[in-house]
Symmetry: none
Subunit: 214 residues, 4 copies
DNA sequence: CATGAATGAGGCTTCATTCAT
DNA sequence: GATGAATGAAGCCTCATTCAT
């Protein structure tokens, strides 16, 4: 933000270079996001992004070395969002917890829409594929460790294969947005959460979550 | 080589046009499949496919109107495979059933590899996206109907949301191949099957599947 | 050459693929040569060369990977021509010999005109610069060895620095075409040859070239 | 730094506009010279020159209408240097004279390095080509007139073609720097001078230059 | 005056598709 | 039918030059 913004109201609008530039950069990012998610990555050209952002083609290249770099900038720090959040089971009501996590996750996904671009690129961009792969492993490890904690407390099915459950949870999260896309209806996150919980907890635990975790 | 080649010696070599043509067509399809799954759809050119199939560029266009059509021909009748098979629960051992279904599913996927091409195209090819969507709905309906049958027989959790479970099963099937890709290890289909079964059946049913269904 | 060319005269003109292709390649080379020498290398675009050759832009890239490669193809085996020929002094009349060598050299240069393109590229294309440098050393060595032979026969100035003379001869050859360009008149090669001979031979040798060399 | 900076301490720093401007202009010229000679004219961008000179891109265009004009400013008054100096034969030792002229010439050339840029532009810039051409004619005329003077004094070969000799001298001067570039060694200017003198003077003159010219 | 962001024409190159042979 | 050369539209990117601040 400009130093001057907190000055007198009504002053002649002055936006310093950097901020203007940042605005253009942001406009380009936003245009890129919109076009990528609308038409697909390959079918979007740098020229189009620039035009959509209201700048000349050359301006695109002032801010991004190429289309890929713009995409990377869009994905930066967002990758983990596409996968799944780490659940914390220390909660008296895992169903509600998961339901809210799911909802938040789907909202995040749909906010940027970038998750729809990923599949298109992963087959061609091995670097990015590796990054995603690594992120998935990270998330998987986190979920696994969460599961271990409750498993040690005897809260789960006794013969639970934690690795498989963790992976299943991750998959259901990653694809949770597709349900709405498919049916056109609003997703019932609570029901999804119940299904997930059933994979983990025996009914007597679910029905009466132990007080010591509250 | 044609089946007819081992016919009478000295006979004028006669391979019906259609058969030769079909060979070329098949070669093109196979080359397309290999290159699409290897390098991605967009990054594969018609020329490359033709070269890989050992025919001229122009020949490609005799058999296929364009690259997209070749892909469609490849996908033809295969789309359902990418999604999930319809399970039949009338079986004394649902875990084994699902495990074998899962394994067969993953083998099918990896056999053609075409499921890796789909994500790349769906964002651009709305027609195909619709086809896939329709297929998914079909599969979903089938799984749902299967679930209904066992639900009516009181074999499942009483408060099961069949729709959500059907969808979850479908997602886990659709993505089952990713686990191997991620971990590099062989997938334990039995454990995955157990997880899925847990979503459906209460333990007492699972442990002792009723005889009347055998 | 086509198999059909030795067939009946008057047959429908059929030029096989390869030959046609070679014609296009030659047309592109010739167009490249003309445009390079006319407008300069940098100021000539691949598109222009293609247009001048009467083909589409893409055709250019079927025959040449880029502009540089076309130039290299033009220069191939011509580089030595731009420098200087190796004189053979075993001749009863070195002036006439040099005069004819000079004339032939200038004719060669002006035939292709490519020597005018070289200076433009040498500063940017270090690979080519090295090739030229090597060629110059080769020529220099040849001239030097020629000079040594006549020096050993006591035909030259006694205190001749052969290296410097060889180099001077090479420079005068390399630049001989510029005289015509500058004055607009026809060059008097004989006078130039006399000047060169003066650098090498004392007058009594020049006036009466020894018989044993005839 | 300005000459005025060492003036009175505490004085308001006053550097006249023109002087500052001249500093920038000089910096741009110097940066242009360095980059042109290093990377070639076409491969140097205005932005680069400005950056190298530590000014903004736009500033470049305040001082020079374009890249070409900067080059012209660099060449201004230097063109004659690239060609050859006018020798004055009224000297008791023409070899030494020419040797020192040659050395001075090569030093001048290498000082700016701009002679390496010329070839690149001549093919495209007909105006400059004409300027150079004119300069060459001027130099040629001067050398010719020098030669005439000594020719009239019977100091030269009797059958000297003055025009050709003048032109040869000019060529050897113009290209004298190349010898060092090629061999990597230091040039022996004296030997070069001897070669040139041999083109002009008969041995008895060279060995015993007449006193009346001293 | 200085700045450097913005412009957009223009060069390079690829590739889906056509078509003469 | 088969061939593969030819096409040219379209994408990528650079850079000389302008202009608002």
């Amino acid at each position: 933000m400009s130093d001057r913004e907190d000055q007198l109201v009504g002053e002649f609008p002055f936006i310093p270079r950097q901020e203007r530039a940042q605005q253009k950069r942001k406009a380009l990012l936003e245009s890129g996001r919109i076009l990528f998610t609308t038409k697909g990555y390959e079918h979007t050209t740098a020229k189009e992004i620039a035009a959509h952002a209201g700048v000349a083609t050359g301006t695109f290249y002032r801010y991004f070395s190429d289309k890929r770099q713009l995409l990377m900038a869009l994905l930066e720090d967002k990758i983990d969002q596409f996968l799944a959040p780490e659940p914390h089971w220390f909660c008296h009501d895992p169903v509600s917890l998961l339901a809210s996590l799911l909802e938040a996750h789907v909202l995040r996904l749909n906010h940027s829409g970038l998750h729809r671009v990923l599949p298109e690129i992963l087959s061609k961009d091995l670097d990015l594929a590796e990054v995603i792969q690594a992120a998935r492993k990270r998330i998987h490890a986190k979920i696994l460790s969460s599961l271990k904690q409750i498993h040690e407390k005897n809260l789960t099915w006794r013969d639970l294969d934690l690795d498989t459950v963790a992976w299943s949870i991750m998959m259901l999260f990653e694809n949770s947005h597709k349900k709405a896309e498919q049916t056109g209806e609003k997703v019932n996150y609570r029901e999804m959460a119940k299904v997930i919980c059933r994979m983990i907890f025996p009914p007597h635990i679910l029905d009466n979550f132990p007080d010591e975790l509250k």
